[in-house]
């Protein structure tokens, strides 16, 4: 589904990703862990199409297409979803209008007619229950005045509405209490299908108690330095990241 080869990227001339290689197949959940500043969020931003990141080398192929040539909105319509670490507040744009526009853009892309008002409301009701989001939030401006937990739940709600093929969740667990974490994880698990995949970016192992990954990668200083099964997450939780740095050092 997604193939990243030797990806190099930076911001303002500073190199952050120094040759990333990653293969993701349909049905898989990959966790990307790593200490602060290792490049996790930059990787997510490159995949979603953030334009201030300069790509200096490598390729990203998504469903057979050159992802780096696609506009952010086209990536979305082709099934990529980024759950933001810091969801953006958009004053004056109502949640309903926002998500309806997005859903209908996706439908247009697939050659479908826009949803009728009643079908849209039905769909929204169904997905809201999935993430236990307060109905009142739908009538407010996008993320405006939402608590940290509500913002993250709103990300999963949008994901549920758009049904992506590849979801990239950037630190979705940060700032969540244990109940919100459970709800968010539950949402992700229920959206899991054999033909879609997820990348879960997290600093802590905690989220991975709820979302069980197939593969865990450790990103450090712009490179994936270790890849293993889900037990790697537990090892990291126990020992921190220092032993990996040590291992790298010894290796060199």
């Amino acid at each position: 589904m997604l193939s990243i080869k030797n990806l190099e990227a930076g911001i303002n001339g500073k190199m952050i990703l120094k040759g990333i290689n990653l293969e993701i197949k349909a049905g898989e959940i990959h966790a990307i862990m790593g200490p602060n500043g290792s490049g996790k969020s930059t990787l997510a931003a490159v995949l979603a199409g953030r334009d201030f990141i300069e790509i200096s080398g490598g390729t990203v192929t998504y469903m057979g297409n050159d992802l780096l040539q696609m506009a952010p909105e086209d990536r979305s319509k082709e099934g990529i979803f980024l759950g933001f670490q810091y969801p953006v507040e958009i004053p004056g744009v109502s949640m309903v209008n926002f998500i309806k526009t997005a859903v209908n853009e996706h439908r247009k892309h697939r050659g479908l007619a826009p949803l009728s008002a009643s079908d849209f409301l039905k769909l929204m009701q169904e997905k809201k229950e999935l993430v236990e989001i307060d109905s009142k939030l739908a009538n407010r401006s996008v993320n405006e005045g939402f608590s940290g937990g509500e913002k993250k739940k709103n990300e999963i709600f949008q994901m549920a509405m758009l049904e992506p093929k590849l979801a990239i969740l950037d630190e979705t667990d940060s700032g969540l209490d244990i109940d919100a974490l459970r709800i968010v994880a539950n949402g992700v698990n229920r959206l899991r299908k054999p033909d879609n995949a997820s990348i879960v970016i997290t600093h802590y192992q905690r989220l991975l108690d709820y979302i069980i990954p197939d593969v865990v990668h450790v990103l450090y200083d712009g490179r994936i330095v270790k890849t293993a099964g889900k037990e790697l997450a537990l090892e990291l939780e126990e020992k921190g990241y220092d032993w990996i740095k040590q291992e790298l050092y010894n290796h060199n």
């Binding site: 909105e73 979305s76 926002f98």
Partner: protein, 452 residues
């Protein structure tokens, strides 16, 4: 004399050449104000950029021009006005259509509506209800600095009169459509007097339109008296073509426990300067003053707002927003004056502008003069670009960049329009703003109401 422009003589001459005819068709009460007013105008003149409150607006670009002006209406004009139908069919309102400032029946008739409400020509009202006119006319529109207010008082031929008696609550708003139409470049003066008595309610919609592509210069004065426990709601939609200049002076005088909401939506117009003066004259009065400017090309839109807290425990809120594209420019000057004994005052002010190009420009200036000590006042102004993070967030959900930009600008504008109280009109204005932002409303075709 500081701040008087050389172009003032043109308007003085216009007065002396025509005052005989103006006076003949008008009434003694209104005529009695003219002499003193022209003397004040001769002293103050047309404001220039040397005046602090006109620092960012050069009126000369429109005032220095050889305009025609006429003071006696012609029958053909009235026909056009009477044939005019508002396009917002879902809007249920008592309608008045003014042609070049004149009420559309010669010598005007007054309409008396259920509940004792009177709407009609100012001249006709001055004949029939001289006591009411004497009590209120020229009492609120006062200025020691802006000559244009006095020019209006000196030369205005007719206007609109609205009276809502004590305890009366009209079921629907009054809509005044100001049309200007001429075969020559024309200077017009509009005048309105609105009296809302105790425990009454009045909702007024004013729509400014141009009907022909000529150059227009309009100088408008509104006087509004809102008595104790009453409420008054004003929505003004400005949609003239970009070769027109409009200067408005709105004076809203509020008594005890009265509530006022004023919203000015400026969609088009070459040079627009709105002066809104709120006077909170009685304890517990509350006023909300809103404005939204959407400008492109070479448009210039300037809002001057003055809120005068003359009594204790009054509340006021100013919210003015603008989106400026191309080489358009804007200005906002928000004054809050709190008198020495106006304790318990709460006064807020906010001005936010978005500049879409490097050439667009916005000047914003708060002006707080506080002479009481138990006061809660705040002001804030921002001038910036659209939020790139919000734009990307929307794109990342599949909304293309153009649509996302539109939604952001619309959302920005909606913070103002959501406060407009007439539902049918608010929906129409939202629709117009969307069209305006898409670039589908331009120049003369911009009329919110389809021109006849």
């Amino acid at each position: 004399m500081n701040g008087k422009s050389g172009i003032s003589d043109f308007f003085s001459r216009l007065y002396y050449e025509n005052i005989g005819r103006i006076g003949e068709s008008s009434t003694p009460i209104i005529n009695s104000f003219r002499k003193e007013a022209i003397e004040k105008f001769n002293l103050l003149g047309v404001p220039t950029k040397k005046m602090e409150s006109y620092k960012y607006t050069n009126l000369e670009t429109f005032f220095r021009h050889d305009y025609q002006s006429y003071f006696i209406p012609e029958a053909s004009h009235f026909r056009k006005a009477e044939e005019f139908r508002c396009d917002v069919t879902e809007l249920d309102a008592h309608g008045i259509v003014l042609m070049n400032g004149f009420y559309p029946t010669i010598n005007g008739k007054l309409r008396e509506l259920p509940g004792g409400i009177i709407i009609g020509s100012l001249n006709a009202a001055a004949r029939k209800y001289p006591d009411l006119i004497e009590k209120h006319y020229g009492k609120y529109a006062r200025s020691d600095s802006d000559g244009l207010i006095h020019l209006n008082t000196a030369m205005v031929p007719d206007g609109v009169f609205i009276f809502v008696p004590r305890g009366s609550v009209p079921g629907k708003p009054v809509q005044v459509v100001n049309l200007v139409d001429s075969e020559q470049d024309t200077f017009d003066q509009h005048r309105k007097l609105i009296i809302v008595e105790e425990n009454a309610e009045c909702s007024l919609i004013i729509c400014d339109h141009t009907m022909s592509p000529q150059r227009f210069l309009t100088n408008a004065v509104l006087e509004i008296h809102v008595a104790e426990n009453s409420s008054f709601d004003l929505i003004r939609v400005q949609n003239e073509h970009n070769n027109a200049c409009k200067v408005t002076h709105t004076f809203i005088h509020q008594e005890r426990n009265s509530r006022v909401s004023s919203g000015i939506i400026t969609l088009h117009g070459g040079l627009v300067r709105n002066n809104t003066y709120h006077r909170l004259n009685g304890e517990g009065a509350d006023c909300n003053s809103y404005g939204l400017s959407l400008a492109d090309k070479w448009q210039h839109i300037d809002n001057y707002v003055s809120v005068d807290h003359a009594s204790p425990n009054c509340t006021s809120n100013q919210l003015f927003k603008g989106v400026f594209d191309d080489v358009s420019t804007g200005a906002f000057n928000g004054r809050i004056h709190v008198a020495p004994d106006a304790q318990g005052t709460v006064a807020y002010q906010k001005n936010n502008s978005i500049l879409l190009t490097d050439q667009a420009r916005m000047d914003t200036k708060p002006q707080l003069e506080i002479y009481a000590d138990d006061v809660k006042c705040s002001h804030g102004a921002t001038v910036g670009q659209l939020d790139n993070d919000a734009l990307f967030y929307m794109q990342s959900r599949g909304i293309d960049k153009r649509q996302a930009l539109l939604m952001l600008m619309f959302g920005f504008a909606h913070e103002v329009t959501r406060n407009l109280k007439v539902d049918a009109l608010r929906e129409r204005i939202d629709g117009l703003i969307m069209q305006r932002l898409r670039g589908e409303l331009s120049q003369c075709a911009s009329c919110m109401v389809k021109c006849v």
